[in-house]
């Protein structure tokens, strides 16, 4: 079978090159891997993206949070990278593995700043209230993080880049995190990361021109599709 088959032009990019291009993208634009509320990321820069805090009544300034992703490592069908048993890589799909760090600024909130009248020293009056005892369980503010190994499978979409040229984007179909208990919590966080990864990777639009290193003109007729560890496309001049 010829490379071009019924079309005039063929182009393919191997998963190694796709990972090189993704590395270049996230290295040149690292803000697509780091998102945080103002106490973590005061303003959007090349390195990080600022997001609103999670508003909640009684928490001044909202819940401060940060998400940091590592550069995804993509494997195109046929499978050559390990996946947890809950995920399978079907023909035409890709898998991705990455590390995710979730952080919260865990703060102690002063519920009643003024002690009631009549309570001094060690007396504990009927009015209850604070007795001046220090609570050592939580400091005033503490960074609490967890790191997760995340796996995903998905398909590619033919999209338009910001400058209007033909491009591909990675569309996530499922996410799996290994070893979180109970299962309901795992599902909750998987859902959270599923939405985050969909959004992050949808913003990574790789021009078809770049996937063929600028060789020839190609007006797509077939593809782009995933096959033999490559993204392939065929078309006309």
């Amino acid at each position: 079978m010829s490379l071009t088959e019924a079309q005039m032009v063929f182009a393919s990019v191997h998963e190694n090159a796709l990972n090189d291009i993704l590395t270049a993208f996230f290295t040149d634009r690292p803000r697509y891997l780091v998102y945080g509320s103002p106490s973590f990321v005061p303003t959007t820069t090349v390195a990080e993206t600022t997001m609103p805090a999670i508003a909640f009544p009684g928490i001044p300034g909202g819940i401060q949070w940060r998400v940091r992703l590592s550069i995804p490592r993509v494997d195109l069908f046929k499978q050559s990278a390990p996946l947890p048993p809950q995920l399978t890589l079907a023909p035409g799909e890709f898998s991705a593995s990455l590390a995710v760090e979730l952080c919260l600024e865990c703060r102690q909130i002063k519920i009643d700043p003024k002690p009631p009248r009549g309570t001094e020293g060690g007396d504990k009056g009927d009015g209850g209230g604070t007795d001046g005892r220090k609570d050592d369980r939580h400091p005033q503010s503490e960074l609490t993080c967890c790191k997760l190994a995340v796996f995903a499978v998905g398909h590619i979409e033919h999209v338009l880049a910001a400058n209007g040229e033909d491009a591909v984007a990675l569309a996530v179909d499922a996410v799996e995190i290994v070893d979180i208990a109970p299962d309901a919590l795992e599902s909750l966080i998987e859902c959270l990361l599923f939405m985050i990864l969909q959004a992050v990777l949808a913003d990574v639009r790789l021009p078809l021109r770049a996937l063929r290193a600028g060789a020839f003109q190609l007006v797509p007729v077939v593809g782009p599709l995933i096959e033999d560890d490559q993204i392939k496309m065929r078309g006309n001049v």
């Binding site: 063929f10 191997h14 959007t44 820069t45």
Partner: protein, 267 residues
């Protein structure tokens, strides 16, 4: 396995080369050459048109009926005294009574040197084989089709036609010379015989062949630092990759001959 592969079949290669050759445009060259016994200065223009592409593994692109349309403006000088016999007006003598015989003075014609401008155009077709030349220069990767060997362009018909054009250009110049009448045909025949078709062919060949033998058809040209995405604001800088290697070949895949480019990249 190469990281990036791009291939084009013969139909696509025809379209690619149509565009690439058209982009070469009209080329101009000036100089001097031997036109028979005469030295002619010339300006010649050449424009190439793609023919029919045949991809031949392992690395040849054959273009059948590659056409070169050429046009030449040339000038050459002819010293007529070198080709025409000396000519003196006959003396007339009369007898004058009581004076004697009186004759008119002897007047001889000094033939001038004339400059002959000739303008002529024609085309030539040839079949040429091209190989693939890959280079990295000035931070740019290039793949070009370069001709293999020097083509043997056939100028027979063009030479005869140009010789006739020279004859047509010379005639009115000669007619302007006093007393040329009896010698006109001799002058034109002598000039054309001195040049001859062989002389024209010997003149045209070296100055027109380089238009074909010297062509380098661009197949691929990209900077080594390849731009994936342009900058999209102050917080979204340009995204680049490095094209580390480029290879090009003509391969037989399945039932088709294809021009295949491959590349390896790094972030």
């Amino acid at each position: 396995m190469p990281e990036i592969t791009a291939a084009i079949d013969e139909t696509g290669a025809n379209k690619l080369l149509d565009t690439a050759i058209a982009q070469i445009g009209t080329q101009t060259k000036s100089g001097t050459g031997n036109l028979g016994p005469f030295v002619a200065s010339y300006t010649v223009q050449g424009t190439l048109t793609n023919g029919s592409v045949d991809l031949i593994p392992p690395g040849t692109i054959r273009i059948v009926d590659l056409r070169l349309d050429w046009h030449i403006d040339l000038n050459f000088g002819i010293d007529l005294s070198a080709i025409l016999p000396d000519f003196c007006l006959p003396q007339v003598c009369i007898d004058i009574p009581c004076v004697g015989t009186v004759c008119t003075p002897k007047i001889c014609i000094d033939w001038p040197t004339i400059t002959v401008p000739v303008s002529f155009g024609d085309f030539v077709k040839t079949t040429a084989d091209f190989g693939l030349l890959i280079s990295l220069s000035g931070g740019k990767w290039k793949v070009q089709a370069v001709i293999q060997g020097v083509p043997n362009l056939q100028f027979g018909a063009s030479s005869a036609a140009l010789l006739a054009a020279i004859g047509l250009a010379v005639t009115p110049l000669l007619l302007a010379i006093p007393f040329i009448g009896p010698f006109l045909a001799i002058a034109v025949d002598t000039i054309l015989a001195a040049i001859a078709v062989a002389g024209v062919t010997g003149f045209l060949g070296p100055i027109i062949t380089p238009f074909v033998s010297g062509i380098m058809i661009p197949i691929y040209e990209q900077p080594q630092l390849f731009r994936v995405l342009p900058a999209a604001g102050p917080v979204d800088p340009e995204v680049d990759i490095t094209i580390d290697t480029i290879a090009a070949d003509v391969a037989h895949n399945g039932n088709e001959d294809e021009l295949v480019l491959t590349a390896d990249i790094s972030p």
